[in-house]
Symmetry: C2
Subunit: 183 residues, 2 copies
């Protein structure tokens, strides 16, 4: 008696860009930043996929107007493409900061987790997370003693919590097998 519109779960695919496309765009942005140029091959190398795959995906991104091409095959980001890249990178940074600085998640884990969800979380939610983190980084006295208290609280729990808890069997052929928290 509460299964509402029922289609919320499909919102997963209704994003501006897919996970794959997001990383193609971000790769271009990072390549331009670090090397000054980005070609199809460079994107492919960065993402560890074949040139053929990158070529195809980038063709679609060109058609959608996110990526543009030089007369010499050099890739650029359009206005929109750049704002997408900025948005995704901004979200990633925020999420990582939250995971590592607030929750105390290990670097590596934070990177993987943030990279998985960066393009999926809504802008409104991220704006709020941004404010929250700003607040936590302010000099407010209440914040200071709060962080103090949280540090000792989490330390007291951490003690017997191995980060890589010697996985159990079962779980089929799959890779990492992450789930089970039974919260």
């Amino acid at each position: 008696m509460d299964r509402p519109p029922a289609d919320i779960w499909k919102e997963f695919e209704r994003n501006v860009v897919s996970h794959s496309a997001a990383h193609h765009i971000v790769a271009i942005a990072e390549l331009l930043e670090s090397r000054g140029y980005a070609r199809v091959s460079d994107v492919a190398k960065t993402l560890n996929i074949t040139r053929g795959s990158a070529s195809l995906t980038l063709k679609a991104l060109k058609q959608r107007g996110f990526v543009e091409e030089d007369e010499n095959r050099f890739l650029r980001l359009s206005e929109v493409g750049e704002s997408i890249a900025r948005a995704i990178l901004g979200k990633r940074v925020l999420i990582r900061r939250f995971f590592t600085n607030v929750l105390g998640v290990p670097e590596k884990t934070a990177e993987v987790d943030s990279c998985k969800i960066e393009h999926l979380v809504g802008t409104g939610t991220m704006r709020r997370l941004d404010h929250y983190l700003r607040f936590l980084e302010s000099q407010d006295r209440a914040v200071q003693s709060f962080k103090e208290a949280w540090r000792s609280f989490s330390a007291s729990i951490e003690e017997d919590a191995p980060e890589a808890p010697a996985r159990s069997p079962a779980m089929g052929t799959d890779a990492q097998a992450d789930l089970p928290i039974d919260a």
Copy 2:
């Protein structure tokens, strides 16, 4: 000189279950909970997909040993399937709680966002979020004044922040067009 293993971004697909599969499993769990039974059609109705699609996906989940079938076509979850369902639901609840209770994200947004990422976030990260939320719900005096301070801080920002900010043009044929936060 910093593109590390380069394959982190592919972790996206290396999950125990896909987004779709996750929701099939959760649907079964919720149907069993609310009605006491779950058939292929019920799952399809719940997820708003055709019976054909559900039939196919559930067949795969049976083969992987997450879902089992009655002699009368009634679906159950295996041990593993149930732990997956619990894990996902647990994660969803945690994330929603964080979004709504801490960040102050509107209900609807929190539901959509948490449903998008629930199956993607690692267990270790979620365990830490769990602790954090528990801490925030404790009676610690530092926590109390912190929450007080955060409320007024966020209220002072909220003022001119319409939750549905009259989207701009561009952004092609896509649906919601969420991104741009330019953080």
